[in-house]
Structures are given as structure tokens and as C-alpha cells.
């Protein structure tokens, strides 16, 4: 574990109990300058995790609750007529923030979804011909309910692609659940979190992550993995080049968190499913979910010696 980040993880794990792996993935996502999609049932602590991350990194935080009637202007902002000045003035929406928690993103209509997703990709928004840059860093944590729930508009693949990770939190362990039920953690602790890093530190860490070494040998492992997904009959299509890039980016952040300046095959394996699973669609022939197919696949591909 990288030593400047150790207190960060301590704080986060106090708030989100028993989810150290997911916490680590979330932080890795932030360090790799990617966006995070948390998919789980309501009430699993998605929002808490998002808020905790925002606080601990000292980021400006905005929460957007997506509903079926939310409009793009509610997210981006709009030009509003100022009576005193006698002209239209741009009122920035909640998207102009360093960390945005997009809650239940799949409850919104595709139109509203795409407003956020375009902002995520381009780091800027355009309102009536005027372009506004979004702050830096710009980190989106979106949560979504499992798509089989009523009243959801599933995100199209092209937009899912924009999230670096998709993670599931899952139910907590019984032991942690006991602590939780006693009411000694969770949101109560959220208020005790203090910012441990400032903006420049975060940016320099993000820069350091990009400098992590990826050897030729590792690339051949990644290429083998990508090839296997492309050739597998269990998927409609394989990992795209963007997916491959995301894999490397994520693995670099993971290696950084492990205190190394080089990427190992193990890093790839750790981030493989969060990075890849939401980008792939299991084919009609296959009954199992993308996650279980990928797990199987990882166990089959030999790490080159």
C-alpha cells in the first residue's frame, strides 16, 4: 500500500465496513482518472462510499438524484434571464463540481443520461453554443440499480464504455453487519472524515500513476487476454481497444496502490473483471453472466513465463 494513501484507506474502511476491496478499486479508479459505476441494490452503501471518497480527498461534491423526469438542464445548468442586468446569464448546474455522485442513473431517460455521459467524456459542456470547461479533477461516481428492476432505462454499451470500473458492493459480512446494526459506523462516521489530501497532491499522484512501467512482457499477457475475449463464443464481441487501454490504466493505478512502479500480471487480474465485465455482452448462446465467464477465462489464460 502506498504510504500517503494508508490513512485514506483507514478512513474509508471505517465508513464503508468490510468492503476494503471495493474501496481500493474505487480509489484506483479515481487515481486512474476514470469514472466509477457502482451497481447494486438500494441501501448497500453506494452513496456513503461516494460521499466518503469526496470528503477524504477534499473534493467539491455534488449529488444528482436521477429520476425519470430529470432534464439535461437540471444536470448541466441553463441560461436564465436576469431581470436586473436585462440579459441571459448561465447558471451552472450540479455537474460543475469535482466529484459528482449520480444516483440511480438508470432511472433517468436516455436524454438526461447522455447529458452527464457527454460531460464525462469531453470534460466540458456546451450550452446554446457556449462551451464551459468542467473542473479538474472531474470524477463521476454513478450508481445504478440492477437493470432487471422496474422503471429503469439500461445504459447503452457505448455509454457504459465511459466508466472505467463497474463494481458491485454486495451484502456485508455478518460480522460487519453486526457492527453496522449497532449503529457505530456508516453515515454517523461520515461527519468525522477530514480531508487528508489536497488537490495538488491528488493531481501529482494521478501523474505518478501514468508513469508506472508496463513491460513488453506484460503487454503480451494483456494482448492474449483481449484476443481470448474476442475469440470466445461466449461474447457477442470482444474487448475494444479503448477497453484494452482502460485495462492498462486501471492496472497501473492498482500497481501504484500496491506500492510498485511496475505492473504485474496480478494487477491485470485484479482489475480485469471490474474493467471488462460491463463492456462485454454475453452472447445468446451463453447462459452465464459476463462476470462468471470472465472469471473462468482468467483462470484459463496462462501468464506468459
Amino acid at each position: 500500500m502506498h504510504k500517503t494513501l494508508t490513512p485514506v484507506f483507514n478512513q474509508l474502511n471505517k465508513v464503508v465496513l468490510g468492503k476494503s476491496h471495493q474501496v481500493k478499486l474505487s480509489v484506483a479508479c479515481l487515481l486512474a482518472e476514470g469514472h466509477l459505476l457502482i451497481e447494486d441494490l438500494p441501501g448497500m452503501g453506494k452513496t456513503t462510499l461516494g460521499q466518503a471518497i469526496a470528503k477524504v480527498f477534499g473534493l467539491e461534491f455534488q449529488r444528482i438524484q436521477f429520476t425519470s423526469d430529470i432534464l439535461p438542464a437540471d444536470i448541466i445548468g441553463a441560461n436564465i434571464f436576469d431581470k436586473n442586468d436585462g440579459q441571459f446569464k448561465f447558471h451552472a448546474g450540479p455537474v460543475f463540481s469535482q466529484l459528482i455522485l449520480g444516483d440511480e442513473i438508470n432511472r433517468a431517460t436516455p436524454k438526461a443520461q447522455s447529458a452527464l455521459l457527454e460531460a464525462m467524456e469531453e470534460q466540458q459542456v456546451t450550452v446554446e453554443g457556449e462551451t464551459f470547461s468542467l473542473p479538474e479533477p472531474f470524477f463521476v461516481i454513478a450508481t445504478q440499480n440492477p437493470s432487471h428492476q422496474i422503471g429503469t432505462y439500461p445504459l447503452p454499451e457505448s455509454q457504459l464504455d465511459r466508466f472505467l470500473f463497474r463494481i458491485e458492493l454486495g451484502y456485508p459480512d455478518p460480522s460487519f453487519e453486526r457492527v453496522l446494526l449497532k449503529g457505530k459506523s456508516g453515515r454517523q462516521n461520515l461527519n468525522t472524515i477530514e480531508p487528508l489530501l489536497d488537490l495538488t497532491e491528488l493531481l501529482s499522484i494521478q501523474e505518478a500513476v501514468t508513469q508506472i512501467t508496463v513491460s513488453e512482457h506484460l503487454l503480451s499477457y494483456v494482448i492474449t487476454l483481449i484476443k481470448v475475449t474476442r475469440e470466445s463464443p461466449d461474447f457477442a464481441h470482444g474487448i475494444s481497444p479503448r477497453g484494452g487501454l482502460a485495462l492498462i490504466k486501471a492496472a497501473k493505478a492498482w500497481a501504484f496502490l500496491d506500492g510498485r512502479d511496475y505492473v504485474l500480471p496480478e494487477d491485470i487480474q485484479q482489475v480485469f473483471i471490474p474493467v471488462v465485465a460491463h463492456r462485454l455482452e454475453s452472447s445468446l448462446k451463453s447462459n452465464s453472466s459476463a462476470v462468471s465467464i470472465l472469471e473462468e477465462l482468467l483462470a484459463q489464460v496462462k501468464v506468459p513465463s
Binding site: 513491460s215 511496475y262 496480478e266 496462462k302
Partner: protein, 637 residues
Amino acid sequence: MLIAIQAVVLFPLWFEIPSWITAATIGLLIVKYLTYKFNIKLPSWFLLIFVFSAFIGIFAYFRTISGRDAGVGLICLMYGFKLLESKSYRDATLMLFISFFIMVMAFLFNQSIAMGLYLLLAMLAILSGIVALNSINGIKGLRHLSKLSGVALLQAIPIMLVLFFLFPRLPGPLWAMPDKSQGGTGISDSMSPGDIGSLTTFDDPAFRVKFDSAVPSASEMYWRGMVFSNYDGFTWREGSRSPTRTTNIPSFETRYQYRVQMEPNKSRWLFGLEQLATAPKDTYLFNDFTWRRPKKIINQFNYSAEAVVYDYQGVVLSEFHRSVNLQLPRTGNPKSREWAKTLFAQSRSTEDFIQRILSIINQQQYHYTLTPEVLEEDVVDGFWLGTREGFCEHYAGAFVFMMRAAGVPARVVTGYQGGEYNPYGDFYLIRQSDAHAWTEVWVDNKGWVRVDPTAAIHPSRIEEDLRPRATRRDDWFSDKVVGFDLPQGFLQKLQMRWDAIKSFWDDSLMSYGQDEQHDWLSKLGIHSNQWRYLGYGLVVTLLLSSLLFGLWLLRKSIKRDPVEKYYELLKQKLMKQGVSIPEHYGPQAIIELLDKRYPQLHEKYSIAIKFYIGIRYKKETDDESWFKRFKAQVKTL
């Protein structure tokens, strides 16, 4: 580079070609170097003039432009000119390939082991040239080059062997080298002491002898071949002789028994240790105690024989034999005749007469040399009273002449003298250079007594480099003989080894000809060595070998890199310890696995695995040294 290669290739030839050509080729090399260094371009008409003058020069010197010496000279010059006009890649390539051909020309003059080794070196140089010429990444130093070309040379060995064994052989040498002014040591069917100006010694083996009985001393080993009793004033020839009837032979007793392995000498005579009494199977024994085969010996031939001592007590030389062995031409060499008669008159007996002549040879200025003056007329007079220098034939011829002039029956015996013991094969090797001529003189009641006048020469008057050989001879004046043999022990052993290697070189490699090829192929069940079949065989073998080589190359390209090899080895070692490693486990995962489940192995193995991680995944590590350490670590596991 090309200049250096040319120098290397031409070097052995410089000693063989006329000195003006040597000078010219060296000059050309220097001119090339200068033009290269100062970037001078020579006009082509300039070169043309030189080429023509070279032709004219060769023709003027040799009176021909074909033949070995003229041809080689011309080629050497042209080779130099080619280098001079070389400027493009194509020229350089051509130069290098021509070099192979020119290099081989050295074998026309000298086929020794040293030459073979030298040409191997030259070949390496040429190959390095080719490698350097075709390398894309530039030259990485001479060591790298010679390594590459050495590997190429090694790879060519199978093809080399196939060509050596299967390439159709011509029946006999490709080019004869007739040279009148030189004689070779060895045995011929006549002896003309006067007309040989220079005697070259050939170290080819004549035959090998194994003794079944006691072994006589080397100085006693006189291997009798032919007897010359007919003299026409210039040449000694075999006289009238006939196969013996056993009744003619005086009583004898056996002294030595031996077996002879004879090299084919393309003639009919055999050699035997004196004295001869019985004949090997299918061989005639003549009444001058020589052996003769009914057919020429063209293959290696083995026979066993015995050496005896005759008892001549009371044996009388027949009138016929007496006249045969007293025969002299009616005229010629008057001084020697007179000289012999005078000396004989002063002597008390035949033996005293012999002793006196030998003393004169020993004490007066008689020299032993292989390069005596050529004598045209009155050869014996010229030698005995004039030049006083010559080799065994001169001495033997003159000695017999004077014996006969004084009325003592005598004859010339030729054969070999001595023999070199090879402890590694327990045999005596008799070489062509051991060829010798001595005499036999009839002494009443003692019979034919061997007299070796050459052995009487005082050692100080023997040409220095011939002494070791000459002093091995029968020593009539043993107290004055100085030993020149190598010190016993190491040096001698070394020499023996060298002889063994050399005899292998000569016997097995140099003499591999049509007959040997036929023998060899017969052993394989191929009974025809016709050109056509050999050609087919050659093509098939070459195709097969190139196919195999191609497959090997393919295999090699699939071959794993060393890091992978040792990492796999490491994993295998772990598995032997009972650790099961899933295929998809990376190195870090293995370390963690060991840490959790096999703590006793963790410490040992994690170091090696960390080296592996360093090589494979870390940034800009010094891979070479890391690999060495990784390898060492894996090996200690």
C-alpha cells in the same frame, strides 16, 4: 578489411610464386590501401595497361600462361587488380568469393597439416569479410565477427564431410607434377648416382613392421629390396638373376620373425630384414636374396617373414655369379680403377681392403649431402676423386665399382634402413625417406658381407639437418658417432603423437582417392562409384541435410528464451516440492501462495521469483546481469 583478407589468402602463395609476382601483389595491396586512404580514383585505362603488362610478364617468365606455376602467378596478379578496381558492394562480394578459390590454390604446393590449419584460418577471415559486408547493424568488433563466421564454418561441417566422402574422385591426381631436376627418396628399379642434383625426402610411410620375436637394434635394420649388379658406367640395374632352388641356399638359422604391413608401392618388390631365406606366400625368392611379387602391389599388402643368418663356411661362389658381380663397363673411370688396384695391392686381405676404403671415407673430406653436384661423365672418378660429396647412392655405387675394379665380387643393395618405433601402435614405421643403398662384398668363407660405405662418413661432414637420420645407420666407427636423437621422454612422446596424427593426415585424408572411396562405399553396400551414382547420392544427401538443417532452424526459432526456460524450471522445482501452481498464477501470486501455504519454501524461492519479476516487469533493468543472478538462484534451488 578486404586488403587484409587478400593478404591472408595470398600469404602462403608468396613463397611459391616467383619473387617478382610476390612483390607485384604486395605492391598492389599497398596501392589499394593508399588509394583507399586518400580517396584516389584510378582511371580504368591505367588498370588496363597493368593487366596487359601482367600477361606479358607472366608469358615472358614462364613462356606459357597455363600450367600450375604460370596459372597461379597470373591468378594472383589478377586477384590484386580486381581488388584495385573494386568499389561497389558487388565487387566486394565477388572478391570474397574468389578468395575461397585462390585460397585453395595453396594446396597445389603444400598439403601439410600446417597448411590445412592456416587455410582454415584464412577461411574464417573470408567468412568474417562476408559477414561484415552483409551485416545491417554494423560491425560489432572482430570477436563478434569471427564468432559468427566460426559458427557458420561449424554448420558447414556436415556438408564438408559429405562432399569429402562422396564427391567423385578421379583415378589419380588431378595434376601431375613432373619435375625433372628433382629426385625423390624412395626406391626405384635403377640407380644413377650422377644425375640427381637434389634429393627431396618424402616422409610418406613405406611399410610398418611388427616383430613377433626379439627386436634388432635400429642400426641393424636393413630392409633389403633390390640388388643391382649390372653397371653400364652410369646406371646400376638388376643383373641376371633367377628364382632360387632351395638346394642353392646355404644352411641358416632364424634370428627374427616379423610381420610387414606394406603400403601400395605400385611395383612388384617386397622388403625384408636381412638376411632373407624364405619367401612369403605367393612370392618368389631370387638367388640374390630378393623378393618379387607376381603382380604389382596396388593395395595394402601384409606378409610375414623371418630374418636369418647364413652359414657360409665352405660355400663357394659359382663362376657365373662371380662374373655377374665383377662386371664393369670396359671403359670409363680410369683413375678410380687405377686407384682401387693400387690400394688392393697394398692390402693384406679383402677385408683389409674394405676397411682401408672405409677409413678413407671416414677420415678424408667425404661429405654427405642431398644436393650434390651433377656429374656428367666418369661419374665414379668425378665423385671419388673430385667432388667427394653425395648421398648413399654415390657411395654405394663407387664402393662397388672399386671392389669390382680390384677383382672382388660386390653388388649394390637398395632398400630401407632403420625404422621408427611407435609405442602407441607397437610397430616400426619405415618411411620413404628411410630409403637407402648399401653394398655386399663377397668374402670367402663369410659369404656376402654387408658393407655400408655411407655409414663411414664422419658425422661432422654430414649436412646438419640430415645427421639424425644418417647417424642411425650401421656404425662402423661407433666410437665416433655422436647421438642426435631427441632426449628421451616428453619430447619424444610428443613427436610420436605428432607422427601418429600426421600419419593419419597423410594416410586417411590426403590419400583418400578413388580406391579408398570405393572401399568405403563397398562397406556401406554401394558397389559402384560411378560418377553418376555418386552425383545422385551427393544431391540427395545435400537436399536431405539442408532439409534437416531447415527443420532445425525452425525448431530453434520456436525455442523458448532463456528467462522463460529458467522460470519454467523454477516452477517445476516448486511442483516437485508438492506445490500446485495454477496456470494463471503470476509470479507475485506464487510468492503469496508460498507465503501463505508453504512458508518453509517462501524464503528460498521468493528471491529467485523477485529476480524474475525484475527482468520481466521492471523498468530498464540491466537484464543481462539480472538474468545471470536469476539463473544462479534457480540453479541453487
